[in-house]
């Protein structure tokens, strides 16, 4: 059972034509669509990263501000890449970045100051230039949020580039 059920991503055609456009143009007008269904079971995820909520991440509602989940997902991705033997700093040193093309978060129950959050994640569908990741956030095995991000491999000057083979091999 896939956490991400069905995905339409950048077509080959749009990627080819995109290469003639200026920096980051490729995604302009792209028909990226997600049908998101990240699993609610942590057993369906390949990796888990633990972090603790900072006070600075809360807001006047007394809960973690919704914008603060995205750096949590990013931190988990970075740790996952390190775990896979491909630290993000090395990728960046080689001139490859994983630009975020889309992000979707479903906030199911709030996170609070000092909560210990487990960010479970797995690589979902991939094309030659994009990949998706699904996330489950839990506190004490209690579901707090799910999320999906879509990434494009880009060079230092923002042009789309092929995904590393090792990353493609890990995808669904």
């Amino acid at each position: 059972m896939l956490p991400v059920e069905s995905v339409e991503t950048l077509s080959e055609v749009s990627l080819v034509s995109a290469r003639r456009l200026p920096r980051f143009r490729p995604w302009y007008g792209a028909q990226v669509r997600l049908q998101l269904q990240p699993s609610l079971s942590s057993a369906d995820y390949a990796y888990s990263h633990r972090l603790r909520v900072r006070f600075a991440e809360t807001d006047a509602m007394g809960i973690v501000h919704h914008s603060r989940y995205l750096p949590y997902l990013e931190e988990a991705r970075v740790e996952y890449l390190r775990h896979l033997g491909h630290p993000y700093t090395e990728l960046r040193a080689e001139g490859v970045d994983y630009a975020v093309l889309e992000a979707f978060v479903q906030y199911r129950q709030p996170l609070r100051f000092d909560d210990v959050v487990h960010v479970h994640l797995r690589l979902g569908a991939a094309t030659r230039a994009t990949f998706q990741m699904a996330y489950l956030l839990t506190v004490d095995d209690d579901v707090r949020a799910t999320a999906v991000t879509v990434h494009g491999c880009v060079t230092a000057d923002g042009r789309p580039t092929r995904m590393p083979a090792w990353l493609l091999a890990l995808s669904d």
Copy 2:
């Protein structure tokens, strides 16, 4: 033409049973789904808010970090409510909050330091306890991002409550 084409939200049933659950429980397990298609034409939006990118919002890729778009959307919502004569501070003083249930952002072209961004927004579909907003972010009439957020009206202790009539009246 609707910016948000089709939406399934919290069912009445889940809302009723949710009332017996502790704080913020209502959304746990809720089957909220978006089919997102915010219009790329600013003419399709009801309101526009202008802001300027801060240096603190950029990241080491030289562009605005993807998490920083969500506060932009929030700032635009707050200004829209003020424009409608219902400042968010008054709503909060009355014990009503608009919790964010879902957020989706499509990053089409990057934003950079000092860019003047227009956040166009409109109210999309609404139910008795939730509403959606669609967004278009432009710089010099150039599309940079689109987004959708789903909100639930909650009381100060996190229980879902009916939407104000004036808000319901504005929805599609």
Copy 3:
């Protein structure tokens, strides 16, 4: 050898009169002055907390944005209180907050994405209602920043209150 050499803080007089003023008024006009000299030797600090720089914390100069150091200091304080057996969540549950009255940071060398930072800290001078903390930030034993924060114990509605005895006992 003290990391904080000499400190003038809120006088008793201003604190007494402050109690009659509305929420948070106490600090208005207060003559708080620091002469800051946090030690550059990690051996002079009571506690050390380790954290890793997130990509989201960098800016377009390719380094950690200067505003991002303050949450690092806060995270280290929270861990120090936990280490002392007085978790901040408990203090907050008892209605006590440690409001930040002043913060000073000296940026000596930049922090970068993925750096593992050690935040060394110690309690400095304390009065009956305020205390100071000194910090040293290192990466691989290399000094990156020093900092001092001044805190006031306040009740949930913002009035100054006496420091817990255990905290006073720890101060210089």
Copy 4:
């Protein structure tokens, strides 16, 4: 009456020797000291920038998080430079950055969501490679905070460089 009463900054000697050290080394060990006394009267400031507090900038104490003041100061500096006819984007395009060497904030009364804040600022003392700025933050003419920042002019690869003549001419 000067907002910044007395300042000792990087000595010529340390700057000269610093040039032989690697990126950002110059400040390592530098004896920068502030004696801070920003004026509490807005009439003593050269420029004022208006901004509104975002909900995302509040924390679970219901007030603006203390780390969020630094981006406010930065935003005001950027607008001041634009007002002077020297937009920061142009300076950056010419390869000059104003690295933050020190920051000091005195939090006198809290800021809250939706507050309209006036950030008053003025250039303080300057040397050939550093300058200081003093700030007063007010809401409805009520003092909320004062601050001082110390900046160093650096090239794109982090070496100290001379301040532009127009900036030096503006200093005390």
